[in-house]
């Protein structure tokens, strides 16, 4: 069952959430079997920023019931490093490539979008307006007007599909989605992680180097379902639904709530190949269920 997503043909509706799978590192660990059995119908790469980033000081992880809190801080090689080192390799993946970008100002995002606009290796761009790990990350995606101004600023720079990744840490997520749609976004993706925190049991001080982090995993699945459902009532553009997907059943729920595609994130940490299982379970369910 192939799927058309904003004009991109995908073999099935299951992709990865940005920042939850590093195809280059996974190839080092698993070799060519990764490429022979690539677990996603499209690959969404980790957030690229203009300048290189080391990320947050460790510790960066804390396990919670049914999930984890991460405070990674968007480490990446920066635009130049990505174009030079990562993009040529990722272009060889057997699936379409979606590049996720984040800037600390509209001009920065524009520079990033512009840099990828003419790259044939890139099928679509995802705007990270929602990462809660970096101080300024909240600003744009938490407010409908800010989101609209951002999309408006970059829309004319590329013909590629623009996906806006919504933050769940906003007062009115459907309003942000609507603003993105009106400004010309081709799709929205949600949910990003929910802001969370853990204390060091010995000292009572924040455990994570970044103080707060993002909660993901099965623990957030019900929140994701509610937000996808609410956003689906508000917009007509396609939705990439994600949050706590562990099985085809969870993916089907998100599609029934209004998602066109489903992304797997934290569950890949537990089983690197879980995208394959989720996709095949989903296909089986879709074959006998009307969404």
């Amino acid at each position: 069952m192939s799927v058309d997503f904003c004009g991109i043909e995908l073999a099935h509706p299951v992709i990865n959430g940005s920042g939850t799978f590093d195809a280059i590192a996974a190839h080092r660990a698993f070799g060519d079997e990764l490429l022979e059995r690539f677990p996603f119908a499209a690959f969404v790469s980790k957030t690229v920023t203009l300048e290189p980033r080391q990320g947050n000081p460790p510790p960066r992880l804390w396990e919670v019931p049914g999930g984890l809190i991460n405070s990674i801080g968007l480490p990446n090689k920066g635009l130049r490093g990505y174009l030079e080192h990562d993009l040529p390799w990722l272009a060889g993946l057997p699936v379409p490539l979606i590049v996720n970008v984040m800037g600390f100002s509209r001009d920065e995002v524009a520079e990033l979008v512009d840099a990828f606009a003419e790259r044939a290796e890139v099928s679509a761009l995802e705007l990270n307006v929602s990462c809660p790990n970096v101080e300024t990350g909240l600003v744009m995606g938490a407010d409908p007007d800010e989101t609209a101004r951002l999309v408006d600023r970059v829309r004319s720079l590329t013909d590629k599909p623009l996906i806006v990744k919504l933050t769940p840490n906003a007062t009115d997520v459907p309003a942000v989605a609507r603003a993105a749609e009106r400004a010309g976004a081709d799709a929205v993706s949600l949910i990003n992680t929910l802001k969370g925190m853990a204390l060091d049991p010995r000292t009572g001080a924040p455990w994570l180097g970044g103080v707060t982090g993002g909660v993901s995993g099965a623990a957030v699945r019900a929140v994701a379902l509610a937000q996808v459902h609410a956003v689906a009532q508000a917009v007509d553009i396609p939705i990439i639904g994600m949050g706590g997907v562990q099985a085809g059943r969870d993916a089907l729920d998100l599609m029934r709530a209004g998602a066109a595609l489903v992304a797997v994130g934290t569950e890949s940490f537990r089983d690197p190949a879980v995208g394959l299982r989720v996709a095949s379970e989903l296909m089986e369910l879709l074959a006998k269920t009307a969404v």
Partner: protein, 275 residues
């Protein structure tokens, strides 16, 4: 550094035996489809059934374990019950199943310039030294083995290696004091003949790093950090090195001591309650 590529994805491995060694449990499992690991490599382990629902409604993520020993089609892991994940794993019995990803990461590299290997282990960190000693012996190289434990109950783990010299914090077995005091005696005057391989708690690794740095002895340290995935996806297990943060799962877990400014700072990422 040596690396064996893992099969892609998680596979089931039947537990064939559970052995107690004082404070530690050795879990043996069948792994017919996996390749032989390189010494120092690790696996992500979870119980295939009843993973979750323990203390604090956890565990959720798999746990990283250096392989203790590998025979044809069989893997062994050394487990100390310190948190909800290690508790569940240490209670596994024959007939239950593990969910396994691995082998992962970079293992130990052979000694340079025909140097003589000294293996220094502390607590549950003795695990990767057992398989490394096996491989060195198979290649005709005998290694000196120095192991440190808290007390007699933990020192039962020493039986997992061949001819170890033991130190205990309370003096109940062997040398009364730190394993690094034993190492210092070995290094005196022989620095250019020795290469050190170490795995253990952060203060021990830091003492080894400092000592080897001072004596200009090359040392390979197998580090530990809080880890969600084991294959470079989560970026959670970074440790600071002279080259910036590196992911321990894909650039380690074995690192040259000379790449670290401190082994203490490199291993703060795992709280016991998260194990």
């Amino acid at each position: 550094m040596t690396r064996t590529t893992a099969p892609f994805g998680r596979r089931r491995a039947a537990v064939t035996a559970r052995e107690e060694h004082g404070a530690y449990v050795v879990i043996r499992c069948e792994d017919r489809t996996g390749p032989a690991p390189a010494p120092g490599q690790f696996y992500m382990l979870a119980a295939a059934e009843r993973w979750g629902g323990g203390e604090g409604e956890r565990p959720f993520l798999p746990r990283a374990f250096s392989v203790l020993r590998a025979r044809a089609g069989e893997l062994r892991f050394l487990i100390e019950d310190v948190g909800p994940g290690t508790k569940r794993l240490s209670e596994l019995s024959a007939g239950e199943r593990l969910a396994v990803v691995g082998p992962l990461g970079n293992g130990f590299a052979p000694p340079r310039e025909d140097r003589k290997p000294i293996l220094v282990g502390g607590g549950v960190g003795i695990a990767p030294l057992a398989i490394w000693q096996d491989e060195l012996r198979a290649g005709g190289t005998e290694s000196r083995v120095l192991l440190g434990f808290r007390d007699e109950w933990h020192a039962h783990g020493a039986a997992l290696l061949v001819d170890p010299t033991v130190a205990t914090d309370d003096g109940s077995v062997g040398h009364h004091g730190l394993v690094t005091e034993l190492l210092e005696d070995e290094l005196d005057g022989r620095a250019d003949e020795i290469e050190v391989y170490a795995c253990g708690p952060p203060p021990m690794l830091e003492a080894v790093r400092e000592l080897c740095g001072r004596h200009q002895v090359p040392a390979q340290l197998a580090l530990e950090s809080g880890m969600a995935c084991g294959f470079g996806a989560c970026f959670g297990c970074v440790v600071p090195t002279v080259d910036g943060y590196v992911r321990l799962c894909v650039d380690g877990p074995v690192l040259e001591a000379s790449r670290l400014e401190s082994a203490l700072a490199a291993t703060i990422g795992a709280h016991p309650s998260q194990h």
